[in-house]
Amino acid sequence: MFGRIEGPYDVVVVGGGPAGLAAALGARESGAERCLILDREPEPGGILNQCIHAGFGLHYFREELTGPEYAERFITKVIDGEIDLAPDTYVSGVSVDSDGTKWVRVLSERFGLKHVRTKAVVLAMGCRERTRGAIRIPGFRPAGVLTAGLAQKMVNMRGYLPGRRVAILGSGDIGLIMARRLTLEGCEVVGVFELMPYSNGLTRNVVQCLDDFGIPLHLSTTVACIHGRERVEGVTVAPVDGHFRAQMAQARTLACDTLLLSIGLIPENELSQSLGLRLDVVTGGPLVSSTLETSMPGLFACGNVLHVHDLVDFVTAESLLAGRFAGEWAQGVRRPADNISLVPGDNVRYCVPHTLSPEREHTIYLRCKEAMKPCRIRVGDLMEKRLRFVVPAEMIMVKIKPDLLARFHGDTLRVDLVPDAGAVED
């Protein structure tokens, strides 16, 4: 039911974007009868509502959909699946009784402040963007410095432009997508500036968002200063050396009235922190077991709040699973604790989940620290696979079947990415 909160629930999902929608469906599929999705926006769909471009669902639906189309598929299933959905609702906290009953504190115009009783909770709040403060660009603080995601919301949801002559710092996909979007809306995008010597986004986006429109991509370059007191008037850009320090002797200043920042995403971990969950310092999200349960029993996490994904299809897969385990937990199923730690090894920045169990199949997600081509992925002594090319910007997914783990008697499994023997160094 849309707009209704009538507890008690079996599973409450915090966040109604792709992760939350899938988690609720997974919970329902597992047999949990009463499920509720809470979202702070006036409608579900999360960030997909403003991602009006295509490229979603190639894996999950084998179709190329736009963000809103992908979202609507799941929203329809949620409504058909008799899952309650309360939009315009903010979760201000979760408290737990000694018997494990959870109370989700929610605030909404419709209900005021209410405590919702539930057995299990799934965190699916997504992520936020890194801001100017995080990378400390010196200069003034004029209007016109904003994150690419905020600009996307202004353009796509409201039909306003953040400016007319735009510089973009960061070659993450959001920045690239906005370079194209703004160009299609008549803005002049003066360039995309990327600190690293390689783009952080998909090649497809570099080609179709920048090359197609003659927008230059300047690698190994940073914005060293922002000019303009009331409103952005320009940026000074400079190449960086091997230690990412700006080489001011080669700096140049570009006139522009807007600077978009596309410099990274961080899991939305305020609630995770206030709940005292154990966090992974690398991802910023909670530590989870192979059932996607956090350090608090009956509290699960999935999607970007757990670790920042690239493809929504993987978010859906991960979240269906989290929902299923949450639903089972709500129905009293208690599984033996995982007994294998999964740790990142050579050239692996992080891997999720953080523990494994010989009882089930796992999908492990990981990211490399540096590009490697070709390489081999090694999971302890159990598995080795050749990969043609890995880059930090593209998450790697590996399936581990239970029979593989049945042969393993240690307590720690390490994942390494090593150069393929005989590979030519890049």
């Binding site: 702070r40 903010y90 005021g112 305020e270």
Partner: protein, 499 residues
Amino acid sequence: MYDVAIIGGGVVGCAIARQLAHYRVRTVLLEKQAEVAFGTTKTNSGIIHAGHHSTPDTLKGSLVVSGGDAFDRLCEDLHFGFRRIGELVVAQSAEEIPVIEELFSRGRSKGIHDLEMWDAQRLRREEPNLSHHLCAALFAPRAGVVNPYEFAFALIENAVANGVELRVDSPVVAISDGEDGGLCLHLGDGGAGGPMGGRVEARFVLNCAGVYADRIAALAGVQDFEILPRKGEEYMLDKRLKGLVRRLVFPVPTPASKGILIIPTFDGTLMVGPTAFDTDDREDLATTDLGADTVFDFVSQLCPSITRRDTIAEFAGLRAVSSSNDFIIGPTSRRGFINVAGIQSPGLTASPAIATLVCEILRSEGLVLEERGDFTPRVTGPVRFASLDVKEQQRLAAEDLRFGRVVCRCEMVTEGEIHHAIDHGARTLDGVKFRTRAGMGRCQGGFCTVRCMDILAQRLGLRLEEVTKRGSSSWIVVPRRSPAAVTHPSSSPQTLAED
């Protein structure tokens, strides 16, 4: 014609306005920016000093203690955030101990009797996260912290409630003789320097123009001092460092400044800075790499857990340092024109005492100050939904549905608070931000900006493109172009335009 016109709506101008509001005196405050406190006050460190730093033979030194003492009562009446968290002046070596001992005696001679000298052991016990090489400290329990803009907003709100007129976007561009023996202030158009915005006549004019006080004095033909702006950069740190340091931490002072500090702000988040850099440019509010390095290199000596990586926001402000290095408060050779200039540190602390002093000066210059019987000293403070307990939150949200809608997710600011801010003077996005904290959290406005703009637009009858960050030309969005205006960009790579 007004009895008093105050030029400048910083904390000093606002404090004087409130003091004058006690009397049957027709007062107008003219602020050149879109809102009060948008100049130096907004960037002030927010420290209410104990008073041991300045010598009693300066105006600075003689007003700081009585000013500081006034804050408890002011806080009760005006409900701004204020807390006496205490201050430590730390000695990094044995050579520095005599300097803090000197501050100790100076403080005592000024009547500050609760100062303490701490040894290394006591320091380590009380502030375990400070460096272990610190060997002693002067502890001043009465030092406190406020949000300076919150204080100024409360002052002006109470002044206006008691009859003072506030005009924003009203820069003074010329001063001539008035018709009835007073002075005539000619106003420019606050927007983009367009045609003249009117005239204000007043018997007395108070020059509270901060960094521009010497220019204003020149307009009155009585400039005999200069303002030498001194820039200070400050760095706000991630709130995960809250509680790392519990008191204000000062190094041993130098002639130029009190030094680079660790400041637990009223909201709890730590701030470090300011630098002290003399500049000719009265609009130089840029933060710099050099400034950041200066701050963090120094602060990490006092507290090794603080690094530049913890920054979530940075800003800079200009201190209005006068050529005499002291406050310049008093009448001039132009009848009716009174300076309240050169208000550098401890100006915020001294502001209540400055207001009292200025009223005395006005009285001795011939202004009759008759108390009005109906002065109401109190304002109801703004609601801070996030700091209410759950029961209060529940009650409030049930009473007024606008408190059920969270706009800023990072700081849990509700729509009701945004409306309250607009009711009480916010006209810009920064005005909302500084009154409610919306946009000050970890995402720095990423999620709440559009909603805040919507509410401002709706309440003030503006189109979205007319909503500004802080007035004047700080527009935030532009409307889409009509279809005919959109063409394909050239297919050759964009050439870089030189500035």
